[in-house]
């Protein structure tokens, strides 16, 4: 058993009597089958596991558990989501107990599958700096650096920004070297028409399952989502790229200035559509305009919830 997992178990066991549930991760038959674990009794702690393959942002469950005493195991990036939820008063600080764990990087499972060239995966093992994939043809090792999630390359902090308890036995990120070209980089290099065609092609694949929305920790409208509203009728049900792109625009604008780029939308997408790029673009613009990054400071107000009479970076646009 890895030391940090043991320490984590000890911390949770101590706090568990005070809590209704603790959110953590567990592994299934192989590590690709990583899943959330809801700990309510000490027996559940045996199933707890954490490593680079446990990628889900557990903070997405918090708003629906508001009003209960919840513990949550949190990496650096997920703590930004928690801060953002606290800022918007979607959760209460005194109801949650945060078990911080330093992150060594999270694996993009889609990249692992791609590396296996479509072969059926027998098992996957994440080592210190490599991921070994066992297929019918044998074992293949991939450098961790090549299969990390995009967000890990620009990680602002591997330790959580807020925490109540902290696992100390873990250090050293897998991240070394340059980030690979992101979808946003590719889009930036395109002409507008090519970008439009890119989205047409991408949205053509969308099956409108709304997994992106359901996985998003900041999508909290639940049954009032405009995608399903008949009055006003924002998106119709036809199966064409226009309506699907409209939905993505809705999602991007509703999370503008709030999105912490956890990447759950893109990770949850069964069709592998790179929808995070839209949110990254908006965040980049917001950083430039308002010098603001979501989920960094609990006392801040998201920029689109407020205004200044004199905006420093918005130059008044004249008629011409």
């Amino acid at each position: 058993m890895v030391q940090h997992t043991q320490e984590l178990r000890k911390l949770i066991a101590q706090a568990l009597p005070e809590l209704d549930v603790v959110l953590a991760w567990t592994s299934g038959s192989n590590q690709l089958a990583s899943a959330p674990l809801f700990i309510t009794a000490e027996d559940d702690l045996d199933k707890l596991d954490f490593g680079p393959m446990h990628v889900q942002n557990l903070a997405a469950y918090l708003p629906s558990l508001k009003g209960r005493k919840v513990g949550i195991v949190t990496r650096g990036c997920d703590s930004r989501t928690i801060i953002e939820l606290l800022q918007e008063k979607l959760i209460n600080r005194d109801e949650i107990t945060i078990f911080g764990i330093p992150c060594t990087g999270a694996v993009n499972i889609r990249k692992v599958r791609e590396a296996a060239d479509g072969q059926r995966l027998r098992s996957v093992e994440a080592g210190k700096d490599i991921v070994s994939v066992t297929t019918d043809e044998g074992v293949r090792t991939i450098p961790m650096q090549d299969v990390l999630m995009e967000k890990c390359y620009n990680c602002p902090s591997q330790t959580p920004l807020i925490h109540d308890h902290m696992v100390t036995e873990r250090n050293g990120c897998h991240m070394t070297g340059e980030a690979p070209e992101s979808t946003l980089d590719k889009l930036d290099a395109m002409e507008p028409d090519a970008r439009f065609a890119f989205w047409e092609e991408s949205m053509d694949r969308c099956i409108r399952c709304y997994a992106c929305r359901n996985a998003c920790p900041l999508c909290v409208c639940k049954d009032s989502c405009v995608a399903q509203s008949r009055d006003p009728h924002w998106v119709d049900l036809s199966d064409n790229p226009r309506e699907k792109l409209m939905f993505q625009a809705i999602h991007a604008l509703h999370t503008a200035g709030r999105c912490t780029e956890c990447g759950e939308c893109e990770r949850a997408c069964p069709m592998g559509i790179p929808i995070l790029a839209m949110k990254q673009a908006l965040n980049r613009r917001i950083k430039h305009l308002f010098d603001y990054e979501a989920g960094m400071d609990m006392e801040n107000t998201p920029p689109l919830f407020m205004f200044r009479q004199q905006e420093e970076h918005i130059k008044e646009r004249d008629a011409r």
């Binding site: 009728h233 036809s238 809705i250 305009l289 009479q309 008044e316």
Partner: protein
């Protein structure tokens, strides 16, 4: 009188009831000649402009979208245009990343007395859209009409 007879493009204008709609009215009363590509939608305030109005307009086939309201500080509801200003600036980036040239979208402030300025805004914006030509649209995607919109709503 259409400036470009028979070559109109679809431009949607979201105008604040208190200033720019009045400004457009002033321009009309003053009989200032303007291009006729613009279809005006009157709103109580630019603060009412959901950036998604603009996205929806483009996806439904608009070639340009203009938002116009009261000058900052002159809002009938005190702060509507301040909020609008932030949202619309952010929207510009979304249009860009979606592949809709941000030049097709413009927001400006015109007061009820500025008929002359309104004429200038409309003429310049229309000229700009004509320079850009019709906006890109999805192939294999039936256009949104009143009928299809109604059917979808049922």
């Amino acid at each position: 009188m259409p400036v470009l007879e028979g070559k109109e493009l679809r431009i949607v204008g979201f105008l604040c009831n208190w200033c720019s709609y009045g400004g457009a009215d002033t321009a009309g009363v003053g009989r200032f000649a303007q291009p006729t590509d613009l279809r005006i939608i009157k709103l109580p305030c630019t603060g009412r402009v959901n950036p998604l109005f603009v996205v929806r307009a483009f996806l439904n086939g608009a070639d340009g979208v203009l938002v116009s309201g009261c000058h900052p500080g002159d809002c009938h509801y005190t702060a509507g245009n301040f909020y609008a200003r932030r949202r619309l600036e952010v929207l510009r980036e979304l249009l860009d990343v979606m592949g809709i040239q941000p030049e097709r979208f413009h927001y400006t402030w015109v007061s009820a007395s500025e008929g002359q300025k309104w004429k200038q805004v409309v003429s310049d914006f229309t000229a700009r859209i004509h320079e850009l030509g019709p906006a890109a649209s999805f192939s294999n995607c039936p256009a949104v009409t009143v009928e299809t919109g109604m059917k979808a709503a049922i």
